[in-house]
């Protein structure tokens, strides 16, 4: 399908040897253009990824997920044959069919940014651990206030960015607060944003709740140093 040929799915990965193989195996059944941005992994992430794709960008040192996504965006900008960039986590939490649904929605209605949300389907909400659910709800309220966009979820790594969105994205936050920064960029440039239901499979490799504290601190520094 043309839509799949025109999209590049990117997987930022740092020490994901336990899950990257399964993630790429599942994605390769649907997507044709897959790019892994290896954020200087010290385990066998790259060796395993090479079994599924030759398209790997390797960082010389670790910069964080936001930094890896910006690398993929910069790479995307050098190519003229792609219309959409999809970000997909390497830890096996996202579903390939969700990525495809987000892409179809983005293309159908010409959105600039389509983001996955765990709070749009009952099955998905029930799957979120209780404490995490409360924190995510608070984070979504905070992000909505900050960006003036009505968001039901925060920090879902599964999203589709249009070419226009990519051209405007210059992430300053290389760590986890890049998710909020992406929303701010879309909001400030009056881009069209849509949330679509996704299902997140929680496993032991995912983010832990203490990381929320790190994200808040990163976000505070980013907001302080942000001049726009």
């Amino acid at each position: 399908m043309d839509l799949l040929k025109e999209s590049l799915i990117i997987i930022p990965a740092y020490n994901e040897e336990l899950s990257i193989g399964e993630t790429l195996k599942s994605l390769s059944k649907v997507f044709t253009n897959i790019l892994v941005v290896d954020d200087a992994s010290t385990d066998k992430t790259v060796e395993i990824a090479k079994l599924y794709t030759q398209n790997i960008i390797s960082h010389l040192y670790n910069v964080g997920q936001g930094g890896a996504i910006q690398t993929a965006i910069d790479f995307f900008q050098t190519k003229t044959n792609y219309k959409y960039l999809i970000t997909f986590d390497a830890d096996g939490q996202h579903q390939t069919e969700d990525a495809y649904n987000l892409l179809k929605e983005c293309d159908k209605k010409n959105y600039d940014l389509v983001i996955g949300s765990r709070f749009l389907s009952k099955k998905s909400i029930e799957n979120i651990p209780k404490t995490k659910r409360q924190i995510l709800k608070l984070a979504a309220i905070f992000e909505s206030k900050l960006s003036n966009l009505k968001m039901t979820d925060a920090h879902v790594g599964l999203r589709v960015l249009s070419k226009k969105m990519c051209s405007l994205t210059k992430l300053q936050n290389f760590r986890m607060a890049h998710s909020t920064e992406i929303l701010l960029i879309a909001s400030r440039n009056n881009l069209t944003v849509k949330e679509e239901p996704v299902f997140i499979k929680y496993n032991e490799y995912g983010q832990n709740i203490l990381n929320s504290f790190n994200i808040i601190l990163d976000l505070c520094f980013f907001l302080l140093s942000d001049k726009k």
Binding site: K5, T53, N55, I56, V63, D74, L224, S225
Partner: protein
């Protein structure tokens, strides 16, 4: 006075952290002015210890030693922030260079539809 001092420290930190987008050249005179003033005050307070009490009295601080401690904390805090700012700018520059290098390196091997 204590609250004013804490407020001043917070304001200085905010300014320096928020000045990440200001070119180094613009902030350098200010940094040098702060460095020279600190050095000057250190010399004065060492040669004429009584002067700290005199200044403290005139700016409504209890004792000269308090003034010396406040000055020390303030200057250390400012330099810590300036160093943080420099480090952040350097880190960003280095990351951009590394990113360009990584992308250039990957261009040759990148293929469409290359999934096995």
């Amino acid at each position: 006075m204590n609250y004013a001092f804490i407020l001043a420290l917070i304001m200085m930190t905010t300014y320096i952290v928020s000045s990440l987008k200001i070119p180094n050249a613009k902030l350098r005179p200010l940094e040098r002015l702060i460095a020279l003033s600190s050095l000057f005050l250190a010399i004065i307070f060492t040669l004429f210890p009584i002067s700290s009490s005199w200044i403290a009295f005139h700016i409504n601080i209890d004792r000269g030693t308090d003034l010396v401690v406040y000055t020390y904390i303030a200057s250390s805090w400012i330099f810590l922030n300036i160093l943080y700012r420099r480090l952040k700018l350097l880190e960003d520059r280095q990351t951009n260079m590394m990113r360009e290098f990584a992308i250039l390196n990957s261009q040759n091997s990148f293929k469409n539809d290359s999934i096995k």
